[in-house]
């Protein structure tokens, strides 16, 4: 879908860049513009530029096609530095989904549940977002589409930790393979809400270990993504990143910086509002879609 929409690429600057006859000063300027424009941030951009400049000098090449290949390889190498595999071998495997407001947590859970049920796993989702208006209904709608069970809070504004507990408890009792817990969106600067998240985690861990804590990041986010990741890692013990909304014009380059700086691997990629629009993260494919 992303490919057909023509989005999610380094964009026009890149195309013009590799059609120049030789590598010159303008090439480097354009490359920098393209990388910054893709939200890699000034630091990663400088690193990549230095690395490529050094390579170009070493191999004495003036062919932009070589530079393009080097760029793709450099990105792939950086993206592949960590293992993107999800570990869901526990039974039940508990997955906690966290993130700031409006990044697409609930939608991601719907798609993730579908992804799992279509592979023959039984799934229960827990609506522990008891804060946002109608979040429970939104999740229930997705769960129904994905063919997953849903555990709802018994009353308005129930403690999210107790909903999470009931979800895992439900999964254990019914022998459901995977329990996915939705949490309310919270900005990383709200210390009270971040503590609440730590509590959800603690309470769930009373029943057994948590298999994955997935941090959902909005692909359109800029350099603030790093601050988000750091705060959620500290309070929720994030084990993997999910990048959403990559079907738009955003390139999501900041995730490379997040992965590099925190050591937490990208595990899933969301590219649309359809229930099938979620895929595992493959560095090769990601790099190839950035630099076609």
């Amino acid at each position: 879908m992303a490919e057909s929409a023509g989005g999610w690429r380094l964009g026009g600057a890149m195309r013009g860049l590799f059609t120049r006859p030789t590598i010159d000063e303008g090439t480097w300027d354009d490359l920098e513009t393209a990388l910054i424009g893709a939200d890699f941030g000034p630091d990663v951009t400088d690193e990549i530029l230095d690395q490529l400049q050094e390579q170009v000098n070493r191999f004495r090449t003036t062919d932009p096609a070589d530079l393009k290949r080097m760029l793709r390889e450099a990105l792939e190498e950086r993206l592949a530095a960590f293992d993107p595999t999800l570990t869901l071998s526990d039974r039940p495997a508990v997955v906690l989904v966290v993130g700031v407001n409006g990044v697409g947590k609930t939608t991601t859970i719907g798609k993730f549940a579908q992804f799992l049920t279509s592979r023959g796993r039984s799934v229960v989702v827990g609506a522990a977002d008891t804060f946002r208006a109608a979040a429970v209904d939104q999740l229930a709608t997705w769960a129904e589409r994905a063919g997953a069970d849903v555990v709802r809070p018994q009353q308005q504004g129930q403690d999210p930790a107790s909903v999470a507990y009931q979800t895992v408890d439900h999964a254990t009792r019914t022998g459901t393979d995977i329990a996915i817990i939705d949490t309310a969106g919270r900005l990383q600067t709200k210390s009270g809400l971040m503590d609440e998240l730590a509590k959800v985690r603690r309470v769930v861990e009373k029943l057994g270990p948590i298999a994955e804590v997935l941090l959902v990041l909005d692909g359109t986010t800029g350099q603030n993504g790093v601050a988000q990741a750091e705060a959620f890692i500290e309070h929720a013990g994030v084990t993997g990143l999910v990048v959403t909304k990559l079907d738009g014009s955003a390139k999501g380059g900041f995730v490379l910086r997040v992965q590099q700086q925190t050591g937490i691997p990208i595990k899933l990629i969301g590219q649309g509002e359809g229930i099938g629009d979620l895929t595992g993260f493959t560095p090769h494919v990601f790099a190839a879609s950035l630099v076609p």
Binding site: A5, G6, G7, T33, I36, G37, A38, D39, G41, P42, V100, N101, G102, V103, G104, G110, F131, R132, A133, A134, A135, D137, Q138, T141, W142, L187, Q188, T189, K190, S191, D218, T220, T221, G222, Q223, N224, G225, V226, A227, Q228, E230, K245, D247, G248, S249, A250, K251, G253, F254, E273
Partner: protein, 530 residues
């Protein structure tokens, strides 16, 4: 806490290096401009905007106005600030109401930008202003968006027009069109149309938005954009401008620590004013946009005004007076100490607050080490005391202290440290409330005191304090004392201010050399000295 990133540190050091120079050479200016460029990029300002911006700053910085100025470096900072405010729209624009009601306001934006929540906030804000708004559920795409709007409408106490169930059923254009008629019949003077989130590249949905616009002929089209958005702000804003052509911008999620460079990009690229900022999840967390504050935020120069507003919101003047009186008459008890601490906590994250002070990035390390849990532990200790013990800390003998430590899940050392700290603070406050300016061991680390060199001064002061009062406490307690002293410093600032001491100046004056205008300083002094 990436807000205090290395880049803003570097910017500060560049500026302070400049400060020592009487005259700026082109090389100096280029160096500074490079750092500004990085700071802006790190704040997610779009690259084309950054390029134009730095070019303009460079030209002005090399011009006469700088070299004739007494302090060229300061002049450069001023130029940067001026230019930012200029791009952000100078002064704020108000909503345009239709001559014949209803006034139609349409909301548009990406998914998850916060449109539905904003619809509720806007409705509540308008209602408080004497209008009779109605919300229209034209987001029939996202599962249960209609229900969400209904709940939001209920919370805001306004009517909601939702004839279609949503979840992909119904025609939003028709809903919007009928809503106008409905509003006219029911005498609503403002119609707020919530539309589905859509991507700039989604031609079909953009066309739908344009059709809604055509159908309702809105007086205002507000483009809602997430303050955390990155470089994509440019293409998204352009796509929406071409697709639906908005008349104003609303910046959402400004309560996070994003520097919000997107605001600059959108304003500069589309030429549309930013009209509102949304600053929290509550329906009241909504305010008209202030370009000058945003400029300070993007450059990480601190946001004194917001800090003051937050403080004003949580501090009760009466309370402060009572506290000051208690200090003076020596009847300040642990109970008051607890109340004060809780008040402090109600202001939100201390780290976040301290970060709003200009020059706060100089204290980055201390902020990093600041443990918010310390407040909670102190609270637990006091709450484990009997009312009598809270009134008369002298009662606390060894066995009582042991009981308190057990009750609060802490150690006797921590209880001891708290009691010592309390006694010290009470003594100090007493002197101060009487109008004296005592030796203030605990006041050293007061944020903002040292301006640029704040970190060093604060560290020294903290070290000095350790040596003085707390020689017998163990290491963890020292740290605790240091942190609590800092917390105290902030908390008592208001209390002491109420008694009219000159204490407030300590926090305010150094701020002046950094950034805030005379006006802001005046506001600060007014607040601290009232």
């Amino acid at each position: 806490m990436a807000t205090f990133g290395t880049l803003s540190d570097r910017l500060t050091s560049t500026f302070s290096a400049l400060r020592t120079k009487g005259k700026l050479s082109p090389a100096d200016v280029d160096g500074t401009v490079r750092e500004i460029r990085r700071a802006l990029l790190d704040a997610d300002v779009a690259l084309p905007v950054v390029k134009d911006f730095t070019a303009a700053v460079r030209e002005r910085a090399l011009g006469d106005e700088v070299n004739k100025a007494l302090n060229p470096a300061q002049q450069v900072v001023q130029i940067v600030n001026d230019e930012l405010v200029g791009i952000l729209g100078g002064e704020q624009r108000r909503l345009q109401f239709a001559k014949t009601p209803p006034t139609v306001i349409m909301l548009a934006g990406l998914q998850g930008a916060g449109k539905t929540t904003l619809a509720g906030k806007l409705a509540k804000w308008l209602k408080a202003d004497g209008h009779t708004p109605i919300l229209v559920a034209a987001d029939l795409q996202r599962p249960n968006a209609v229900q969400q709007l209904q709940v939001v409408g209920e919370q805001a106490g306004v009517a909601v027009y939702a004839p279609e169930p949503g979840n992909g059923v119904g025609d939003p254009v028709k809903v919007a069109k009928n809503a106008i008629k409905h509003a006219r019949d029911k005498q609503h003077d403002v119609v707020i149309v919530d539309t589905a989130g859509r991507l700039g590249v989604d031609a079909e949905l953009m066309k739908q938005a344009a059709n809604i616009r055509k159908a309702v002929d809105p007086d205002e089209v507000l483009f809602v954009i997430d303050a955390m958005i990155g470089q994509d702000a440019v293409s998204t804003a352009k796509a929406f401008q071409e697709g639906v052509d908005f008349t104003g911008v609303v910046l959402s999620k400004l309560d996070g620590d994003a520097r919000g460079g997107a605001a600059l990009s959108v304003a500069s690229i589309t030429g549309r004013p930013i009209m509102f900022a949304s600053t929290g999840e509550g329906l009241d967390d909504f305010e008209p946009f202030h370009p000058d504050r945003m400029a300070s935020r993007i450059l990480d120069l601190g946001d004194i005004l917001t800090l003051i507003e937050q403080a004003q919101k949580s501090f009760d003047e009466e309370d402060a007076k009572r506290t000051a009186e208690k200090f003076a008459t020596d009847s300040f008890t642990l109970e008051d100490f607890l109340a004060q601490m809780q008040q402090l906590k109600s202001m939100g994250s201390l780290k976040g607050m301290l970060g709003m002070l200009p020059g706060a990035r100089g204290m980055k390390d201390q902020l990093e080490n600041f443990d918010e849990g310390e407040l909670t532990r102190t609270e637990a200790i006091i709450q484990s005391m009997t009312p009598k013990e809270r009134q008369l800390p002298k009662l606390l003998n060894g066995s009582r202290r042991l009981r308190i430590a057990r009750g609060s899940g802490t150690t006797v050392t921590e209880v001891n440290a708290l009691v010592n700290r309390f006694e010290q603070a009470a003594k100090m406050m007493k002197t101060m409330a009487k109008g004296g300016m005592p030796q203030m061991p605990g006041m050293g680390p007061m944020p903002g005191m040292g301006g640029g060199g704040g970190a060093a001064t604060a560290r020294k002061a903290a070290a000095k304090k350790k040596g003085k009062g707390k020689s017998r406490s163990g290491n963890p307690a020292k740290r605790a004392a240091e942190e609590a002293a800092r917390a105290q410093g902030l908390g008592s600032g208001a209390g002491a201010g109420a008694s009219g001491s000159s204490f407030g100046l300590g926090g305010g004056a150094p701020a002046g050399d950094k950034q805030p205008t005379a006006e802001e300083l005046e506001a600060l002094q007014k607040f601290l000295g009232r």
